[in-house]
């Protein structure tokens, strides 16, 4: 009985042994015993990429989507391994087949715009769409922008607004800024200056420079929000600090209009300001 069991299990054991041997040969090291995915992440954070690789590779080979995704990142960036975009894509593809949103997003990001082949473009669009459906705000935003500017897909302002709004509602600053522009211009919806100002303000509070300049201008002109030149100066100064050229011009105009003590008070606020974290 024992013999028959060992005979039946031999091929599996042999395959496992071969796999382990291949692993040792490919990394130059034996896999680490008693380690977890999280141990791999700790090593990665400490930039000990060789150790992270040793921990994640066996997991990835046993179809752990998170380990497959992280190996993709390592090959994409050349961390602990020679940079190899094809290997990165191959690992991300394995994880994407298991519906891992970040793998779908990265896979699509490397393909979109980068290939002439229409079939590959369609695949990239499908990956980005799936990541967006799974709730990833960066993917929702990217997809929205693609529909808005007809990049790799037919222009569709309704879909563009739908995806950008979903990302904005999740707190994604660039999407909030874009919702500000869509509301301002009445794209796939009514012109709504109040809504535009509120979206710009949300993104500005997160530190998004262009939104800070936009809300500053709106405060200065009372456009969709109650006129307040002190608030205007506060926001355009923050934008100017991030090298937005027109913000610097707006700042100069406002500084001349406001009393010196008010300007000083605002500068104190500017230097102690920290962006909200989402």
């Amino acid at each position: 009985m024992k013999k028959s069991i060992s005979n039946r299990t031999f091929p599996t054991t042999a395959a496992a042994a071969c796999l382990a041997a291949a692993l040792i040969l490919s990394t130059g090291h034996a896999p680490l015993a008693d380690t977890t995915f999280e141990d791999g992440y700790k090593a990665y954070e400490q930039t000990d990429f060789a150790k992270a690789l040793k921990i994640w590779l066996p997991l990835a080979n046993s179809n752990n989507a998170h380990a497959q995704y992280n190996l993709g990142v390592m090959y994409d960036l050349g961390r602990g391994v020679a940079q190899d975009k094809k290997k990165a894509m191959a690992w991300w593809l394995k994880a994407a087949k298991q519906d891992l949103p970040m793998a779908l997003h990265n896979l699509a990001s490397n393909y979109l715009f980068g290939v002439k082949d229409e079939n590959q473009q369609k695949k990239a669009l499908a990956w980005m769409s799936r990541a967006a459906e799974l709730g990833l705000s960066r993917s929702q935003y990217s997809l929205g922008k693609m529909y808005l500017h007809a990049h790799g897909v037919e222009k569709d302002e309704v879909l563009a607004r739908k995806w950008i709004e979903m990302a904005a509602k999740q707190g994604f600053d660039k999407a909030q800024y874009n919702m500000g522009k869509l509301s301002r211009d009445g794209v796939a919806g009514p012109v709504d200056k109040e809504a535009a100002a509120q979206w710009f303000l949300k993104a500005a509070k997160q530190g998004y420079a262009k939104a800070q300049n936009h809300i500053g201008k709106r405060y200065a002109n009372g456009d969709g929000i109650e006129k307040n030149e002190a608030e205007a100066l506060f926001w355009v100064t923050l934008a100017a600090k991030q090298n937005i050229k027109s913000a610097e011009n707006n700042r100069k105009v406002l500084v001349k209009k406001l009393p010196l003590d008010e300007v000083n008070r605002i500068m104190t606020r500017v230097y102690s300001w920290k962006p909200e974290k989402k």
């Binding site: 995915f37 930039t47 998170h66 960036l77 050349g78 961390r79 490397n110 980068g114 500017h149």
Partner: protein
Amino acid sequence: MKRILRFIPSALAGFALIVIVSSAKANEQEAAAFISNLANQALQTLGDVSIPLEAREEKLRVLLQDGFAMKFIGRYVLGKYWKKMTAAQQEEYQKLFAEWTLRTYSSRLGGYKNQKFTVVKVIDNGKKDIFVKTRINQPGGGDPIDCDWRIRKVNGKYKIVDIGIAGISMLLTQKREFASLLNRNGINGLIEMLRVRNSKFTAMSS
């Protein structure tokens, strides 16, 4: 006396040669120090494990930006398309291009655990640019990472103007890729591509 007079021009030529050679030597030392300083910044910033790696890398990108002639590189790779952009597009493009360049190439300065960064050779052939060849030896005997930094003095400060990987210029590679993309997707397409590429996620924790 005649002999002495005959000797003077060749002596002056010799002196001029020594001045040129020593000036080239000084430039080479300065250039090596410039690149080594960037590598040290990488080492110090990435070595501070009290903050997450993604935040450390972002901090490093901000620090390194000043070491690159980013506006020049950004304009050069666009070629004739630069003048076709609006001022807002130029501003947006330069910001995204700088981030993307630093995301792609900053790891060539090393700074990760047990990596050893060395300046292998500096070549100053007396023209506008100096080439600094560097190598990173990987822990565990992985393939070394080689890089050629083409640097130039801009307003008295050294700046990186091109990066060579395996003898291939980043400037020329990008110019070709961007030209093809601009033909297919236009200026907004290029901006979107950079935005999407910069939006890639890094390693996940669980």
